[in-house]
């Protein structure tokens, strides 16, 4: 045992040692005093007896002191033995024992401390409990220590930091020793128990939370069918409280009146254990009367000892799910119908393998009805140049991402598609390219036609301008021509009267010539203008010209409720004509026809475009309306300039038409339609 260890118990040894020392000192002083007296007495020889007595007293006193000292020593040894016993107990105790000051400073501790907390005794000495407790437990510790210093025994449970930094739960009991300035502390390591308790609590909380958060209702019945357990979800589901349900025997309050029989049947099935494993649906009547559809999944209830004690049912509200499923199915049907009905081809191909996973009807129509499962490239699906290197895995962060948006020509069919491709994630998680391809061949064709039409419109505009110009020029030409005639006639009458002198003749002839030149310059202006739009004759199919004119006039015809009927026989020869000019003639004749039928009842409004081979050299084209027809006088005049039956007509249209046809070496004639209306008919030379 360590010698410098302070005693476990405080002894009176210092007192005794002090007392003994005092005695010895007294004795010594006494003895010295006597010796001194005896010495002086010797000299005077009277004090020998007195001195001897004193000596005896001193000896007796010395012996008494020695006895006292021996007794004290013996007592001390006995105490030491007791103390050692106690020390042993102290040290071998499994509990943590410590002597500490009331402020928690540890004076001594037993071996359990290093065992439990890992610190050596030396490390702990003079260290306060406050230094070791968990920060969260500091307050509790302080309170306990305050209580302790006021002389009360305290008990508390705190976490104490071990040398590894872990905390151990220690249950302390500290008793103050009132007459000593120390406390005796005993601590019990309850970490294990605490952990178990915490785990239990956590599990309880988890279970409670699970039960509370569960949307699935749970209901247990015993073998007789009595309800022995319901969770809150079940209560919410049926609208009855736990108290209303527990202990209920069938019929249960949530059984709807109208289907009580089938409920009984379900219960019998449950109790007999013959329920389907995939569950069964049952209608439930909530407390508020609402009916809901619920699905019951059943299992046997087995207790801790393996006894079958009842049946557990997991119940879910499938009303919403049913509605949602129905809605989803409908939505899917609609979606499929839309996709299938689309003119645009839609397909989905796996990014990595190029396998077609989905294709709509339009796609299958174009690429074959067995398209699904094949490789897109093998089918010749136009594939845009991908910005991704082949085979590299696309960055999933950026999905869905546009791959391509543009126009692509199918290499085999030559048709044009507008393709919009996206990289996306397919329903099964695969990365796919999803494409919508719209056939824009017709659109492109129309675009080209539109351009052509623009050019034609310009040409037409020029023709119209030409008509207006001709009208103005005709008027202008009349002036010099009339003047020339006047000069000539005037000269002639003078000549007849013999009163025309030479000077006057010169003058009048000069004037007439000037007017003739004026007329000439007007004509030159016309010619310059016309030269810019001189007709060019090509070999063209008549049907194309007719189609062009019909296309131009269709909107106007529709506006006026007029049907345009094209009745061209097959195998018409090609004609030699300027298609734009002939188209213009047809447009003019159709427009006249439409205008002539403004009083015809809408149902009868139609213009028939017919063509036939007239003879070896000519093809005849007819434009037949059902309009008001022409009077004989009108028919006479109809081709003259400025004759018009329209309030705002120029009277140039038919004149120009005739000129155009005659330029083509054909003839434009007019006739009555026997059914009412007028037939305009012109001929065009066949390409020999």
């Amino acid at each position: 045992m360590n010698g410098d260890r302070p005693p476990l118990l405080r002894s009176d040894r210092p007192l005794r040692i002090g007392a003994a020392t005092a005695f010895v000192l007294l004795f010594m002083v006494g003895a010295l005093a006597m010796l001194f007296q005896w010495g002086s007495g010797w000299r005077n020889g009277s004090a020998d007896a007195e001195m001897l007595t004193m000596l005896l007293v001193i000896v007796a006193l010395g012996a008494w002191v020695i006895v006292l000292l021996i007794r004290a020593r013996q007592q001390e040894l006995a105490l030491l033995r007791v103390e050692r016993e106690r020390d042993r107990l102290f040290h071998f105790s499994l509990d943590l024992l410590a002597v500490m000051e009331p402020d928690g400073k540890i004076l001594r501790c037993n071996a359990a401390f290093p065992r439990v907390l890992g610190y050596t005794e030396r490390m702990l000495r003079r260290k306060s409990l406050i230094d070791l407790v968990h920060p969260d437990d500091l307050g509790e510790t302080m309170t306990a220590l305050r209580q302790l210093s006021s002389g009360e025994a305290v008990e508390f449970v705190v976490r104490v930091r071990s040398i590894t930094g872990e905390y151990r739960w220690l249950s302390w009991r500290i008793n103050p020793v009132n007459d000593e300035d120390a406390c005796y502390a005993i601590a019990h390591d309850i970490t294990r128990a605490k952990q178990t308790e915490e785990a239990l609590q956590a599990e309880m909380a988890f279970r409670r939370a699970m039960e509370e958060s569960l949307v699935t209702g749970l209901r247990a019945i015993d073998l007789q069918g009595r309800i022995i357990y319901v969770n809150s979800a079940f209560c919410r589901l049926v609208g009855f409280s736990e108290a209303e349900l527990l202990g209920c025997s069938p019929p249960f309050p949530y059984w709807p009146e109208e289907s009580i029989e089938s409920c009984w049947e379900s219960l019998r099935m449950t109790l007999s254990g013959r329920f389907p494993t995939e569950g069964f649906d049952m209608r439930i009547s909530r407390k508020d009367g609402e009916r809901i559809d619920a699905r019951f999944y059943l299992s046997a209830l087995i207790d801790g000892e393996g006894r079958h004690t009842g049946w557990m049912a997991a119940v879910t509200d499938v009303t919403e799910a049913r509605r949602a499923r129905a809605a989803l199915e409908a939505a899917q049907d609609r979606f499929a119908a839309v996709l299938e009905g689309l003119d645009a081809a839609v397909f989905v191909a796996d990014w990595a393998s190029d396998e077609i996973l989905f294709a709509n009807r339009a796609f299958k129509r174009i690429y074959g009805f067995d398209a699904v499962g094949q490789r897109a490239a093998a089918l010749g699906v136009p594939r845009p140049i991908s910005p991704e290197p082949e085979g590299s895995h696309p960055d999933e962060e950026t999905l869905p991402r546009e791959l391509f948006d543009g126009e692509v020509q199918h290499p085999e069919s030559g048709r044009w598609y507008h393709v919009h491709e996206q990289l996306s994630r397919w329903v099964d998680g695969r990365i796919v390219r999803m494409a919508i391809a719209t056939d824009i061949t017709v659109l492109q064709h129309l675009r080209a036609l539109e351009l052509q039409r623009q050019a034609q419109l310009q040409q037409t505009a020029r023709l119209i301008t030409m008509g207006e110009m001709a009208s103005t020029l005709a008027h202008e030409l009349n002036q010099p021509l009339a003047a020339i005639a006047n000069y000539c006639r005037g000269g002639m009458s003078r000549l007849a009267q013999g009163r025309l002198d030479e000077a006057a003749t010169w003058a009048v002839l000069d004037k007439a010539a000037t007017q003739a030149e004026r007329a000439g310059s007007i004509l030159n202006r016309i010619r310059d203008f016309v030269r810019k739009s001189e007709p060019r004759r090509d070999v063209v199919p008549l049907a194309d010209i007719v189609a062009g004119a019909v296309e131009i006039m269709t909107p106007e015809a529709k506006r006026n409720n007029v049907r345009l009927l094209v009745e061209l026989p097959a195998g018409l020869p090609e004609v030699r004509a300027d298609p734009i000019l002939i188209e213009q003639v047809l447009v003019n004749l159709i427009r006249n026809g439409i205008e002539a039928m403004s009083r015809t009842k809408p149902a009868a409004r139609q213009i028939r475009l017919q063509a036939s081979r007239q003879d070896e050299r000519y093809v005849a084209v007819s434009v037949i309306d059902r309009g008001r027809g022409l009077s004989p006088e009108e028919r006479e005049q109809i081709f003259t300039s400025f004759f018009t039956t329209k309030p705002d007509g120029l009277g140039m249209g038919l004149k120009i038409c005739r000129s155009i046809v005659e330029f083509h070496e054909g003839r434009l004639t007019v006739d009555d339609n026997p059914l009412g209306g007028t037939e305009f008919r012109f001929t065009l030379p066949v390409e020999a």
Binding site: S471, A474, H475, N478, Q479, P480, L481, A482, A483, I484, A485, N486, Y487, R489, G490, G491, M492, S493, R494, Q497, V508, K511, T514, Q515, R518, F642
Partner: protein, 215 residues
């Protein structure tokens, strides 16, 4: 009355100089007196209230058009029949103008014979119009000289009342009626009652007749 002897004038109103000049040449060659005007305003500024003749009028002119000038002549009741000349025919317009008293509507180019014939007709019409106008103003001049009482007597006589009836109507003696009657006959320059009735009837008709209209 001195205008009767005067040679009639053909007025040409046309904005085209060559037309004016050539018409002048042509018509003078046929013995007509011709005056030309570049626009309607200069024509209106020149002509007086009398004088026979006709007007060759271009329909399309800058400023006042031929049609507007025609209306102005009608308003002034000048004895100048109008022949329209046009570069570009418009049948409805032509019909309208003819109804209003235009002589003809010639479309360029026209033959000289056609034109000259039209001018002859127009001048003939002009003479008639002038005569009528002369006769009418003569009657009006004479009528102006009658006193109020004489006019009352005149109206009753023309209406066929006998002297005695007139005397009763006006509350005067037959003697007095006879004096008024002889004064009316004298002032109106009529020799017989028949002549007086005829004169008054013509005057009535003439005033009701639209200008330029020949029966």
């Amino acid at each position: 009355m001195n205008g009767m002897e005067e040679e009639p004038l053909v007025h040409v109103v046309d904005d085209d100089e060559a037309m004016r000049d050539s018409l002048l040449w042509l018509l003078e060659g046929s013995g007509h007196r011709v005056r030309t005007y570049a626009d309607a305003a200069s024509f209106l500024a020149t002509i007086g209230p009398s004088g026979s003749g006709c007007v060759l009028l271009d329909v399309r002119m800058p400023g006042m058009s031929g049609l507007e000038l025609f209306e102005e002549l009608r308003r002034r009741e000048l004895p100048l029949p109008v022949i329209f000349i046009t570069g570009h025919g418009d049948i409805p317009m032509a019909v309208r103008m003819l109804r209003k008293g235009a002589v003809d509507f010639l479309e360029k180019p026209f033959s000289d014979a056609q034109l000259l014939q039209c001018i002859e007709e127009a001048l003939a019409r002009s003479r008639i119009l002038r005569e009528r106008r002369g006769r009418r103003s003569e009657i009006e001049r004479r009528f102006e000289t009658l006193s109020q009482r004489e006019r009352e007597v005149l109206m009753l006589i023309v209406a066929g009342r006998l002297n005695k009836q007139v005397a009763d109507d006006l509350g005067i003696s037959i003697k007095t009626v006879e004096v008024y009657r002889s004064r009316v006959m004298e002032k109106m320059g009529c020799d017989s009652l028949a002549e007086l009735v005829q004169t008054m009837t013509w005057w009535e008709e003439e005033r009701a007749r639209p200008w330029g209209q020949i029966e």
